[in-house]
């Protein structure tokens, strides 16, 4: 393979004005983290609400929740990004559309919204699975104690359900970091796009991609560690516990 390796390329100046190529990549990493974390907060809140609605004792509410999940699960994320970025500004009244188009950091905001809605549907599925995994007696006990239905959800069901689904949520968080790379199609220069622009400018294809890959591996490793820590901290002693939490809790 006659490919010229040049690992010192990272300390050379890049023509995009960010500084060295390393700075370009780190800037991309920042956008990846900012996008993933903002979208994750949005997805957790929306997902908890929709997931709860899907277990509500009302047929129409459940149908609404299911329709929401199906809508966001059956359209590719790339197409959803395009819909928010290109289509939405044309469908709203002209002034609102112009405001959307001239918004600062439009691709970042759009990416967060698209990724947030997309992931919220997946979180919602996990949340309702978590609620359904609880024994029916918990809900009855809550109402028997005089709690209203919202109170039962708030103080009894959701705190337990969220603990059960932490491993599944870890997977979703890892997925949201990876999915944030789709935002490069609407012009957000996150980590993958930064590596790609470094490739275009420097022609050092494999150095650029190796560095970005290592950065992705590092953030996913940190994410898994944090999530395992949360899982141990929130484990209910003697109740639903993973193997690790059991060893630590007793």
């Amino acid at each position: 393979m006659n490919y010229n390796w040049n690992w010192r390329i990272f300390w050379e100046m890049s023509p995009d004005g960010a500084g060295t190529y390393m700075d370009t990549l780190l800037m991309g990493l920042k956008w990846t983290l900012a996008t993933a974390i903002s979208a994750w907060i949005m997805a957790l809140i929306l997902g908890a609400v929709i997931g709860t609605l899907r277990t509500a004792p009302n047929r129409w509410v459940v149908r609404f929740g299911n329709a929401y999940v199906e809508l966001f699960r059956n359209i590719p994320l790339l197409v959803q990004m395009f819909l928010w970025y290109f289509v939405l500004p044309e469908l709203v009244p002209v002034e609102a559309g112009n405001w959307l188009k001239s918004m600062p950091h439009a691709s970042f905001v759009t990416a967060v919204v698209a990724l947030g809605f997309f992931t919220s549907a997946r979180v919602a599925v996990q949340v309702s699975a978590g609620i359904q995994a609880l024994s029916g007696g918990q809900k009855m006990a809550g109402t028997a104690l005089g709690l209203t239905l919202p109170q039962t959800y708030r103080f009894v069901l959701l705190p337990m359900a969220f603990r059960i689904i932490i491993p599944a949520l870890t997977n979703e968080f890892a997925a949201i970091i990876k999915n944030s790379s789709v935002a490069l199609t609407i012009g957000l220069v996150e980590l993958t796009a930064a590596a790609n622009s470094m490739r275009e400018f420097s022609f050092q294809i494999f150095e650029a991609f190796t560095a970005a890959t290592i950065l992705y591996l590092v953030i996913s490793a940190i994410g898994i560690m944090v999530s395992n820590w949360i899982e141990r901290k929130t484990a209910v002693p003697g109740f639903i516990t993973g193997a690790k939490a059991k060893a630590g809790g007793q």
Partner: protein
């Protein structure tokens, strides 16, 4: 609201959209599914191997692929495959590989990591006694796997494998980043040529929704049928 929209653009370009774009998407989905399941099954057997180097190699590969974004993998292989090809045939210059071959290699290798995890849980769902019984009957490893374990594992996992294939079908849209004419690529080319982004992207979303929703409904039906057999 749709007053000044021109949905006629779909009628004008549907042949290009489906004959060129959707055909590419479906072909890539199908071949990557077949390749991914075969390679994924081999990887799953390697991950369950008692020989340490084999286990470590497969586990490392699967974990690596599963922690980087698909677009990153697409870029990697798009640039790597010509070099590997040149190395295999001994050519001094990077080999020219077509868009379809390049993306087929990418998606097969990428999806294999995901199919591997499905097949692994499928294999692990078969009671150990069955493997022991196979060995007691004098069967070799490959005979036990091929005749006893894999057929059952595969049957149990069909719904999950198909669900993953629906994910693959949606993921194929990401070849857009290489300007390949898949379904989304074709729609976006027409959209930019005619200045009809809104109509085209809405149409693409509707087509994907109908197909994926229909397919996942069929998978659910199938799941119930498979469940009755067990």
């Amino acid at each position: 609201m749709f007053g000044n929209f021109d949905f006629d653009v779909i009628a004008r370009s549907w042949q290009y959209l489906f004959m060129t774009g959707m055909t590419f998407t479906l072909k890539l989905t199908f071949f990557a599914m077949v390749g991914g399941i075969v390679l994924g099954t081999l990887l799953a057997m390697m991950r369950l191997s008692s020989i340490k180097p084999i286990y470590l190699a497969a586990t490392g590969y699967v974990n690596l692929i599963r922690s980087i974004p698909l677009i990153m993998v697409i870029f990697w292989f798009y640039f790597l495959v010509p070099y590997i090809g040149a190395w295999i045939v001994g050519s001094p210059v990077p080999l020219q590989v077509g868009a379809f071959t390049s993306s087929l290699i990418t998606f097969t290798l990428f999806e294999a990591a995901y199919y591997c995890e499905i097949m692994r849980s499928g294999i692990q769902s078969i009671p150990r006694g069955q493997v022991a019984a196979g060995q007691a009957l004098g069967m070799s490893y490959w005979q036990t796997m091929g005749n006893i374990v894999l057929p059952q594992a595969f049957r149990n996992m069909i719904p999950v494998l198909l669900t993953q294939t629906i994910v693959l079908f949606q993921d194929v849209s990401l070849v857009y980043v290489l300007s390949i004419t898949d379904f989304v690529g074709a729609a976006s080319k027409v959209a930019q040529r005619d200045g009809r982004l809104v109509e085209m992207y809405l149409f693409v979303a509707v087509v994907y929704f109908v197909l994926c929703y229909g397919l996942s409904y069929l998978v659910k039906q199938l799941q119930q049928r498979v469940a009755i057999i067990r």
